[in-house]
Each structure stands twice: as structure tokens, then as C-alpha cells.
């Protein structure tokens, strides 16, 4: 439907502009806030993809927890506007080369995707809402997650434990209990 396409372009534009500003503008606090906007736009795109669970997970974990962590660190380190460091050992053309390379990569990827339109230009396999609901509902996710991917799930819990212990040990000041 045209309205879905319009909504997609709207949210895609918001996500791209916000991400570009995250990378482009100077103040890290504003970068974090703009990244939250980008995540919200991506969550809306997930809703367009009939993935409400993915959208909610994006908001709860990414925008609601990881970004709070970034915000706390920015406030802790008092990261102000980026000052130009005197005597940086970066060659003059290195930054321009980096930008050009990233742009070339972007153009290449988009071109590759567009050229494969014969394969990727298809509409989704199932458009009937009832079938989609059954296939992508939280119930289906839960069933697969806890049976086929149960091992990965348990390993993820150990991963989180390890990273929690690591973060606490690293961030502690020496000599503190």
C-alpha cells in the first residue's frame, strides 16, 4: 500500500538523518540523544516489518538500557565538545580518505542490493495477516527460542554474567572494596 511506503520513507529518513548527525555533530551528549531518536525510528521500521517483538525489544534494551549506560558514562567523564588536539599524529589526508572509503562502501552496498532486485525485489512470502500473525507472533518466537535455540539462550546468560563482572572489575577504582 502507498501509505506503508510513505511511512517507510518517513522513518527511514529520520533514522538516516539522526545517524548522520550522531556521527557528524560535536557534542557527545547530543550524539547519544540523536542515537535514541534513530533507534526509535528503527523500531517503527520493525513495526512496518510486522515484528512488534523486535520493535519493543529495540526500545526496552537498546533505547532504554544501553543508551542510559552511554548517558551515564558521558556524564561521568564530562565529555564536552570535541577539542582539536594539538600535535595529533594523524596525517592530513587520512580523515578525508576515511570519509571517501566509507562513502564508497555505502554506494557499493546500495548498488549491490539494487542490482539483486530480481531476487530481493519480491514481496513477502505471506501477506495474509492471520498467517503473518501466527508466524511472527511472540508465541512463535518463544516456542523457537526455548526449544531450538535454548542452548544459545543459556550461553547468552553466561555471556551477560561475564560482561557484568568484567565491567564492575574494570570500572572500580583501585583499592575500593
Amino acid at each position: 500500500m502507498a501509505s506503508e511506503l510513505l511511512l517507510f520513507y518517513l522513518f527511514a529518513a529520520v533514522a538516516v538523518v539522526a545517524s548522520a548527525l550522531v556521527v557528524g555533530q560535536r557534542n557527545p551528549m547530543h550524539s547519544v540523544l540523536l542515537l535514541i531518536v534513530s533507534f526509535a525510528a528503527l523500531a517503527a521500521v520493525y513495526l512496518l516489518l510486522d515484528a512488534p517483538f523486535a520493535a519493543v525489544i529495540q526500545i526496552i534494551i537498546y533505547a532504554g538500557a544501553i543508551m542510559v549506560l552511554f548517558l551515564f558514562v558521558v556524564m561521568l567523564l564530562n565529555a564536552g565538545r570535541e577539542a582539536v588536539q594539538a600535535g595529533t599524529k594523524v596525517a592530513a589526508g587520512a580523515r578525508a580518505a576515511g570519509g571517501v572509503l566509507a562513502a564508497v562502501l555505502g554506494v557499493e552496498l546500495v548498488w549491490a542490493v539494487a542490482e539483486a532486485r530480481r531476487v530481493t525485489g519480491a514481496v513477502p512470502l505471506d501477506v495474509d495477516p492471520a498467517v503473518v500473525e501466527r508466524l511472527t507472533s511472540v508465541r512463535a518466537i518463544g516456542q523457537k527460542l526455548f526449544t531450538e535455540y535454548a542452548f544459545a539462550f543459556e550461553v547468552t546468560s553466561i555471556l551477560i554474567l561475564v560482561s557484568m563482572v568484567g565491567a564492575v572489575v574494570l570500572a572500580k577504582r583501585r583499592g575500593e572494596p
Binding site: V56, I59, I60, G64, A65, V68, L71, F72, M75, S137
Partner: protein
């Protein structure tokens, strides 16, 4: 533009206006009940029995000067109350408050009484509640003042810690209800055992309800968990530097968060709009009565219990409430699997 669409849009506006009016009513109710608990009269000058007091408060706040501290990041400073208020109001969008109704036969098909009918509603409420942390953190940072920053960081850590127990209490109810949609969870609570005891989840999940209410009170920064706003210690915490309408936004956000937590508690534990004597289409009256009872409980707790100290608060959240909530979750799951509850 079919009539159903018009009514649905009208419902969205209705919910918005109702939330704003409910926060005004909460201001009045809080002061009157606080007075009653402290054996004094409370507001009784403005209007009959002081009923117009909230309007007097709003008009006073509107006429105050908007201050901004020097050196404060203007964008962040002004964004914070907007985020608080927006998150608070948006979280209520997916909460249903009545059965499907045809508005006394005007419509062809029944529409559900909620602003948006989403089938992952519980997760959406949780997600938007976790966004309200930003309003507080940005208020503290943007104020460029040490009291604000301290209060904001304490408040944010408290909210994040109690979000875990909040989520686990929610998960226990989800196991019983079998669905993430608030409407379906409420419908799973219709009917009664032996015809007398209503089939509410609070009877199956008393521990879960206690955990949910405690986490809800901590999430909304209300006493006895309101250390971040403690007037005696921190001037006013994260909203020290705010005046006039920005301050009003924070208070609006706090009261609407209370209403949302109470409404979700009603839907999850007390059967939502199901109740004896009234027909289904007037179920929203039962919903209002139950939400009001929980809000009264909120006010009662605030003016009765002393405030937790910050380290006691965090200790309670992590070392006491979280194991209890986890144990409750495991027992509920075991009960559903083995006893078929």
C-alpha cells in the same frame, strides 16, 4: 471517514484530556487526604470545599517566570520535561479501560475502549516506562547544578533497579494470562469461582501483586521511595532549577505515571472492568472504582511511611525484592505447568 474512525480518533483525544484532568483531580485528592491523615482541613478556600484548588495551582504556575540557570544546556534543559510528560501520557495509550462497546448502538461494529489495541501491550507499557528515565537524567544534567545532578543520578539508578522487579512481576502475570495483550489478560479474569470469588489474578499471585506495587511506587518516585526528591536533603532533586510550566510538566508526569501504574495493576490483577451487578458496557465504572482505590492506596502509603534512605532502597531492590520476584516467577511457572492453573 467512517464513523468508527472518527470515534477512534475522538477516543484518543478523550484519553488525553481524561489523563490531564485526572492529574488535576489527583492534586486535589492528595492534598485533601494528606490533610485528613494529618488531622487538619486541607484546601477549603478556593471554591466549595476547595474543589477549584487545582485550577488555582495551574493558573499560578502559568504566571510564574520561566527561569533557566546560566551555563545550562538549553536544548537538554527544555527537552527533559517534554520527555517526562510525553512518556507518561503515551504509556497510557495501550491500556484498555472498558469492554468493547457500540456506544449505545450508534456504531455498526463494537470498538474497544482504548486508544490503541496492540497485542504486545504489556511490553509497550514497560518500554515507554523505561523511557521516562531519560526525562529525569536529562533534567539533572541540563540544570548544571550539583543538587540536580545528584538527585537525577540517584533517581535514575533507582528506577533502573526497580524496573527489573517490575518486569518479573509482569512476567508472572503473563504466565497466568497466557498473552501479552492487556485486553486478553483482563478477559482471562472474567467469571468467578463458586460464583462468589471473582477470578482475579491477585488471588493467584499475591506475592506478584505486592512486588508489582512496590516496584510501581519505586518507578514513579513516590514515597517511601522518593529520596531523589527529598525536600529535606536535596532541595528538590532533579527538578530544583525548574519553574513555572516546566515544573508543572514534571508533576503532571508523576501523577500520570501513578495513574498508568494503577490502571495496569487493575487490568493485570483486579480483573479490569469486570465486576458484579453492572452490565458489560458499563464496565468502565468498575475500572474507575478500582483505579481510584489503588490511587488512594498510593496516597495513603506516601503519608504514612517514612522515607527509605538511598542505600537501604538499593539494598532492598537488589537483594530482597529481586530474589522474591524471581522465586515467584519460577513458582508461578511451575504451578501453571504442573497444576494447570
Amino acid at each position: 471517514m467512517s464513523l468508527v474512525l472518527v470515534v477512534q480518533i475522538g477516543l484518543v483525544f478523550f484519553v488525553f484530556v481524561a489523563l490531564l484532568l485526572s492529574s488535576a483531580a489527583m492534586v486535589y485528592a492528595e492534598r485533601k487526604f494528606a490533610a485528613a491523615f494529618q488531622q487538619r482541613l486541607g484546601p477549603n478556600r478556593v471554591g466549595p470545599k476547595g474543589l477549584l484548588q487545582p485550577f488555582a495551582d495551574v493558573i499560578k504556575l502559568m504566571f510564574k517566570e520561566e527561569l533557566r540557570p546560566k551555563g545550562a544546556d538549553a536544548f537538554v534543559f527544555l527537552l527533559a520535561p517534554v520527555i517526562s510528560a510525553t512518556a507518561a501520557i503515551t504509556a497510557f495509550a495501550v491500556v484498555p479501560f472498558g469492554a468493547e462497546t457500540t456506544l449505545f448502538g450508534l456504531l455498526d461494529e463494537p470498538i474497544p475502549l482504548q486508544a490503541a489495541d496492540i497485542n504486545v501491550a504489556v511490553l509497550v507499557v514497560f518500554a515507554i516506562a523505561s523511557m521516562s528515565v531519560y526525562g529525569i537524567v536529562l533534567a539533572g544534567w541540563g540544570s548544571n547544578s550539583k543538587y540536580s545532578l545528584l538527585g537525577a543520578l540517584r533517581s535514575a539508578s533507582q528506577m533502573i533497579s526497580y524496573e527489573l522487579c517490575y518486569g518479573m512481576a509482569l512476567a508472572s502475570v503473563l504466565i497466568l494470562g497466557g498473552s501479552l495483550s492487556l485486553r486478553e489478560i483482563v478477559d482471562a479474569q472474567s467469571g468467578a469461582w463458586f460464583g462468589i470469588i471473582p477470578r482475579w489474578f491477585v488471588f493467584l499471585q499475591p506475592v506478584g501483586f505486592a512486588v508489582y506495587m512496590i516496584s510501581g511506587i519505586a518507578e514513579t518516585n513516590r514515597a517511601p521511595f522518593d529520596f531523589p526528591e527529598a525536600e529535606q536533603e536535596l532541595v528538590a532533586g532533579y527538578h530544583t532549577e525548574y519553574s513555572s510550566m516546566a515544573f508543572a510538566m514534571f508533576f503532571l508526569a508523576e501523577y500520570i505515571n501513578m495513574v498508568t501504574v494503577s490502571a495496569v495493576a487493575t487490568n493485570l490483577f483486579f480483573g479490569g472492568w469486570h465486576g458484579p451487578l453492572l452490565p458489560e458496557s458499563l464496565g468502565w465504572m468498575w475500572f474507575l472504582i478500582k483505579v481510584s482505590a489503588i490511587l488512594f492506596f498510593y496516597i495513603w502509603v506516601r503519608w504514612t511511611l517514612p522515607r527509605y534512605r538511598y542505600d537501604q532502597l538499593m539494598h532492598f531492590g537488589w537483594k530482597v525484592l529481586l530474589p522474591i520476584a524471581a522465586l515467584n516467577l519460577v513458582l508461578t511457572a511451575a504451578g501453571v505447568v504442573y497444576l494447570g492453573l
